[in-house]
């Protein structure tokens, strides 16, 4: 008789206790999921049929960050035979403790049945932090020159691999020659804005335009971030985590001196043009009397033939951003070509071919070309 009773599903006899197990293997399906088992399959099936909302599921089985006093985590639930599985919305974060809690009584309450002595179950798991040493480094900071204008507008920091976001504010520091920190040098909108490229490999540090632009209170109260004649260090902290959560392999420092203000419009008439030989793939080279913006040099100059069709090839920037060259994919024909320069091309102080960074009224030197582009014609030379 006892044997027969023990076989019926809705038994009050001793049942195996529910145990919670986490899926802790990073490569497993449902990494970070938690299973509560064994639970009577009939009860689980009825529970699923009752279509619990998220709050109802969480009352029965939930996973928490830290401990069960936290708010329960978002996720969804699956019933797999005798297992109730919670699958978190997001994968576990390294270096985090998770706790899971199962309430047998709440389950049976919901389906209106008498609970066997399943009681409660509890489990915790710590997702280990990744201590693999990192290999990401700063490849370069532009401008490359170590003498920069006092009204320098931008610095680009190029990394060898994608970086994490939101940490630049404390990982990038600018020191003056007496090792004093230059505070509030860069624009961050209250540490809310970081200017990354789509791959998170290049960060633009924008000097606070309010301090650089003439006639504004920040400029008058705090002055330009850089002072002419002084030396500075831009320091990148190696504790900065890359996109995989690992520190940089090493830090980075750029030392530079500050020269006079640059309030001159870049003018293409001052550039030298070295046409390539026809029939070769030698580059056409443009050189400038002052360095120009590294990023804009990469995209604001296009080589075209007379009918406007662009020529395919590779752009290179060299000589401290004072040289731009273009190597075509196919050999040059002897026809007329031109380099089309976007008039928004800027120098290191944000002065474009069209106008100075800031224009005071009556400043005749403040205005440049009025067209959207400037053409520099050339003909590949016959040999």
């Amino acid at each position: 008789m006892f044997g027969v009773l023990a076989c019926t599903p809705d038994t009050n006899g001793p049942a195996r206790p529910v145990v919670i197990a986490f899926h802790t293997s990073r490569t497993a399906d449902a990494f970070g999921a938690a299973d509560a088992r064994p639970v009577d399959p009939g009860a689980l099936a009825e529970l699923a049929r009752s279509q619990p909302d998220l709050a109802a599921w969480q009352g029965i089985f939930a996973v928490y960050v830290g401990d069960t006093t936290s708010l329960p985590m978002l996720g969804h639930y699956q019933v797999v035979h005798d297992t109730l599985r919670f699958i978190p919305q997001f994968p576990p974060q390294p270096g985090t403790t998770y706790a899971a809690r199962f309430h047998g009584a709440a389950l049976y309450d919901r389906i209106g049945r008498r609970a066997p002595s399943l009681g409660r179950a509890h489990a915790t798991w710590h997702s280990v932090a990744d201590t693999t040493p990192g290999s990401t480094v700063v490849l370069a900071a532009y401008p490359t020159s170590d003498v920069l204008p006092q009204n320098l507008l931008r610095i680009y920091v190029q990394f060898s691999a994608p970086m994490s976001r939101g940490d630049s504010f404390r990982r990038v520091r600018l020191y003056a020659d007496n090792d004093s920190l230059v505070e509030d040098a860069f624009f961050t909108a209250g540490e809310a804005v970081e200017l990354w490229d789509p791959d998170n490999t290049r960060l633009t540090l924008l000097f606070d335009p309010g301090r650089i632009k003439r006639d504004l209170r920040p400029n008058e109260e705090a002055g330009l971030p850089l002072q002419q004649g002084r030396a500075y260090r831009l320091v990148i902290d190696s504790l900065w985590l890359d996109g995989n959560g690992r520190s940089l392999a090493r830090g980075f420092e750029k030392r530079f001196r500050v020269g006079p203000l640059d309030r001159a419009i870049p003018r293409t008439a001052t550039w030298t043009v070295t046409p390539p030989p026809a029939g070769t793939r030698d580059p056409i080279v443009l050189t400038f009397p002052e360095p120009l913006d590294r990023a804009l040099l990469s995209r604001m100059l296009t080589v075209r033939i007379a009918n406007g069709e662009s020529v395919a090839g590779e752009v290179s920037v060299a000589k401290l951003e004072r040289e731009w060259s273009f190597r075509p994919h196919a050999a040059w024909s002897a026809d007329s070509h031109y380099v089309e320069v976007d008039a928004d091309l800027e120098d290191l102080a944000g002065n474009s071919l069209q106008k100075l960074f800031d224009v005071a009224p009556g400043d005749s030197g403040a205005l440049g070309v009025t067209t959207a582009t400037v053409r520099i014609g050339f003909v590949p030379r016959s040999r």
């Binding site: 985590m73 994608p162 909108a189 924008l206 606070d208 335009p209 309010g210 003439r214 006639d215 913006d293």
Partner: protein
């Protein structure tokens, strides 16, 4: 029997086909049902008809998403430890969470938050809402099956076939809906330009954004093309204005009617704030019968200015002028975000000793 079968199948197939066509045909708002291709969730702004506009910087696009939410009476909403609780719900630590922006649903008065979970390659965008349900204050707003439409923001002013993957991005610093348009303020990671754009909503099939060249003039009259960090469209004395705060910190007012594409529009600088500070939020509301604008600053205290002064006040042209009157509010301190909540309250995110708190503040005290 065998004869009937093909007809049945054809009918079913036709019905399915018709249903599919109906399913993907945009509705009158230009929206289709499905899951928008969200790469990131940044700036938020509600428009009419429960539509939430979201800036997606990584995708270089704006999503318009219809999010019905049961009407509520409003009233104060509080959640201490906001960042800690958002982190708990998302299964992470507070340091792994960034709360990007906040907006209040016009019907339910729930507080919507755009959040990024994670900082590296695993970063994920999440839309959450904070409700007045003390037992379950934070819920996810699923975007898996919604009515939506998306407008791309054109990138890179020149078409350069020699360039590899374009490293240029636009960061949307603020957006707002007014007069049938979505207004978008942005900042490039390359050239220094004032990309203030406007796109008509409902979004057309290939929506056209018009770029507006806006300049502001300092008190000695030099001008720059300067990126806008925050703005608010508002009507003052029957006229439409855009009131904007800049990277260079002046507060500038533009007559919205004068903002036409291809035109070089000069705004009136009505106030200059000081160094080491960026205005990060501008919120307009009615306080004791008067329209005011609250300026949330990155470092300076909260400031209140009168809307009527913005419309009627003189443009800053004298070297010593500060501009229109403003009242600095030393309390509450540490405000990082603010939104209009209901007739009596604004809701704010406030930085405290232990992290961020969501709090409601009575308008009459501001």
């Amino acid at each position: 029997m065998n004869r009937a079968k093909p007809i049945v199948i054809t009918c079913v197939a036709a019905a399915l086909f018709a249903a599919t066509i109906a399913w993907i045909r945009p509705d009158s708002n230009g929206m289709v049902r499905g899951a928008p291709d969200v790469k990131s969730l940044g700036q938020l702004a509600f428009g009419p008809g429960n539509v939430l506009f979201v800036g997606d910087n990584d995708g270089a696009q704006i999503h318009a998403i219809e999010l019905p939410d049961a009407a509520g009476a409003g009233g104060a909403i509080e959640l201490t430890g906001l960042d800690a609780k958002v982190a708990q719900v998302l299964g992470a630590a507070p340091a792994d969470i960034t709360i990007n922006d906040m907006a209040v649903h016009p019907a339910s008065r729930n507080v919507y938050l755009s959040v990024t979970r994670g900082r590296g390659a695993d970063a994920r965008a999440v839309l959450l809402k904070v409700t007045r349900n003390a037992a379950r204050p934070i819920e996810e707003v699923s975007l898996a099956n919604v009515k939506f439409s998306t407008a791309a923001i054109p990138n890179a002013p020149t078409d350069n076939p020699t360039a590899r993957r374009n490293p240029r991005t636009q960061t949307i610093t603020d957006l707002a809906f007014a007069d049938g348009q979505v207004w978008i303020a942005g900042l490039s990671n390359e050239e220094f330009a004032s990309a203030f754009r406007r796109v008509a909503f409902p979004f057309a099939k290939n929506p056209e954004t018009t770029t507006l060249e806006i300049y502001h003039v300092s008190h000695r009259a030099s001008e720059t093309r300067s990126p806008v960090t925050t703005f608010v469209p508002m009507r003052i004395a029957g006229k439409s204005y855009i009131v904007a705060g800049y990277t260079c910190t002046p507060i500038v007012a533009f007559d919205a009617e004068s903002l036409k594409p291809g035109q070089h529009v000069k705004g009136r600088t009505v106030a200059e704030l000081g160094a080491g500070n960026t205005p990060t939020d501008l919120v307009s509301f009615t306080r004791d019968g008067k329209d005011v604008i609250l300026v949330v600053n990155s470092r300076h205290p909260l400031m209140r200015i009168d809307a009527s002064d913005v419309a009627a006040g003189p443009s800053l042209t004298t070297p010593d002028g500060e501009g229109i009157a403003r009242t600095a509010l030393t309390q509450p301190a540490g405000i990082t975000q603010m939104s209009d909540l209901d007739a009596q309250h604004v809701v704010v995110i406030q930085r405290g000793a232990n992290g961020l708190d969501l709090r409601s503040i009575t308008k009459s005290t501001l």
